[in-house]
């Protein structure tokens, strides 16, 4: 009895989680008329309209949006990992003046809500001539990742035994060589966590791209969706096909990255 109640709860919540996805898939396979006339049913009337995907893909140059999103996300990950592992290494391994002040300045960035600095950031980046460029989209995203990445890398590097550092120094290794020959490889789990969190974050981010980009060639996927929505006659089937294209990469990658992602979520609050 208790057991079946348990399973009813679990299945019900599973449906709550899944239904929006089922609806998205179903609607993307409808004709425009069917989507408007029977919006509640996830199943299309009169067969699946596979052509919707092709239409959307070509109509708005979704291929280009896809590439833009991918380029932005990948460079953000690489930048975040390189820049902040270096900082974490410096914070965790060396004694020097001003270290605490610098560390806490970066962590304090967490306190500033993104929307507060949006305007000056926009002015700043346009003054540098970076509107409608990858660099303009990417730099603020990397900077925004600083607090959490620095925190995680610093605390992770502290767990690496100091003896490893000392023996490497005895073998004649310089600080930089120690960083990339010993610390980087050992930090792979933490790097994975940060990479995945930032992939999801930058892939889903729309506020900043929306402000710094107005050229359709530089649209990211979420911006493409908003553009699809802006026509006066709402084509739910096309909108949902676009939405599906947007989330597919995350859906495919998720089973592989689930564990690492959860580790990152629970860091600091749960000792695993």
């Amino acid at each position: 009895m208790v057991k079946s109640i348990k399973h009813i709860i679990l299945v019900l919540y599973g449906l709550v989680c899944l239904y929006p996805f089922l609806w998205m898939i179903g609607t993307s396979l409808k004709t425009t008329q069917d989507a408007l006339a029977n919006p509640q049913s996830p199943l299309p009337e009169g067969g699946f309209q596979w052509s919707v995907f092709g239409d959307v893909w070509n109509k708005l140059n979704f291929y280009r949006f896809f590439v833009n999103s991918a380029v932005v996300s990948i460079i953000v990950i690489i930048g975040v990992v390189i820049i902040y592992t270096m900082m974490g290494y410096s914070f965790s391994k060396f004694r020097y003046r001003g270290k605490k002040a610098i560390y806490y300045t970066f962590i304090a960035l967490l306190l500033v809500p993104g929307v507060t600095t949006l305007i000056p950031l926009y002015i700043n980046m346009t003054n540098l001539g970076l509107e409608n460029t990858y660099i303009g989209i990417i730099l603020p995203m990397i900077n925004g990742a600083a607090p959490f990445a620095i925190f995680l890398f610093t605390s992770y590097f502290r767990t690496i035994p100091h003896e490893m550092y000392e023996s490497a120094v005895l073998d004649g290794c310089g600080s930089f060589k120690i960083y990339y020959k010993i610390y980087l490889p050992l930090a792979l789990p933490a790097i994975g966590t940060i990479a995945i969190m930032n992939f999801i974050g930058s892939w889903n981010n729309v506020l900043w791209p929306m402000i710094i980009v107005n050229d359709q060639h530089m649209f990211t996927l979420p911006m493409g969706l908003m553009y699809l929505d802006s026509s006066s006659f709402k084509k739910w089937n096309e909108l949902m096909a676009g939405a599906l294209i947007t989330i597919v990469p995350i859906l495919i990658a998720f089973p592989f990255m689930q564990k690492t992602y959860i580790k990152g979520m629970t860091v600091g609050s749960v000792k695993m």
Binding site: K6, I9, L10, G14, C17, L18, Y19, P20, F21, W23, M24, P39, Q40, I83, M86, M87, F91, F94, R95, Y96, K100, F106, A108, L109, L110, L111, V112, P113, G114, V115, L118, I119, P120, I123, N124, L139, I142, N143, A146, P147, F151, T154, S155, R158, H162, W203, N204, L207, P222, L225, M240, A243, T246, L251, F254, Y261, M265, G268, S269, V270
Partner: protein, 297 residues
Amino acid sequence: MVSSKNKWVPYLFLLPGILLFLGVGLYSVGFSIVLSFYNWSGIDFSTARFEGLNNFRRFLLGDDPIVTQNFYHAVLHNVIIAVAQIAVVIPVALVLAFVLQNTKMASLYRTVYFLPMIVSGVAMFYVWKGLFEPSGAYNSLFHWLGMDFMTVPSGMLGSSSTSLIGIIITFIWGGLPGTLILYYAGLTSVDPSLYEAASVDGATKVKMILKITWPMLKPITLIAVIQMLNGAFQAFENVYIMTGGGPAGSSEVIGTLVYRTAFLDNNYGLASAIGWVSFLITGAIAIFSFRSFKTDI
């Protein structure tokens, strides 16, 4: 911990991050503080007028009644979203985490449950918009259940009395998995031998929950609450996409208000001032979360 022979070495490792921070982060923070004291429409800063505290008086003290009303409504909406989300998510996540524990196929359930969290973004906000349409799934479901009093003929997001509820539902849907993960991880990290030892000592189940489980879950609850508070006060994307703050300002939040004031009304000074007041509000909340980022550096 080492003092390097060459004392510039540790600074060299900080250099790229600091340069980026100076060029992007610090500049923006500093400039936005300056801006909040100016009246500026955004084209050339030489046209900006220094106004002292005027911007703040406009929306805080009623110098401009409409802006003041918009601001306080927006803050209220942020508070409502935060409170409603926390009130629903904490107990539901707790129950689900308990139920999910020791279940067969827990990993399958977990994968399904975590989906909303990772894909939550523009794509899903459009899905919710569709589900909340007048003849969409939400209304159909309650009509089918015979609960017509729950339906909203003009659509959840189309009526000023329900638009905020629609926003809150998406917050709960997207926010539940994160808290569920925290609780689930917390529960599974309790050493089972603690329970065994307690039952040998003759402890009741209630006592075990109070003395073993709850002390473990208390800090997790605090962190979950702080995360949701932060998230609710930084709300922007789902509101912007699903309602744009409407109808008639019924779902306006600080984020959309700042965005609108800056980029649609071209009032950059006022928008910055509103942004900084919201910073003070979220800052107070974030100081708590700040404490969880302490590392012995």
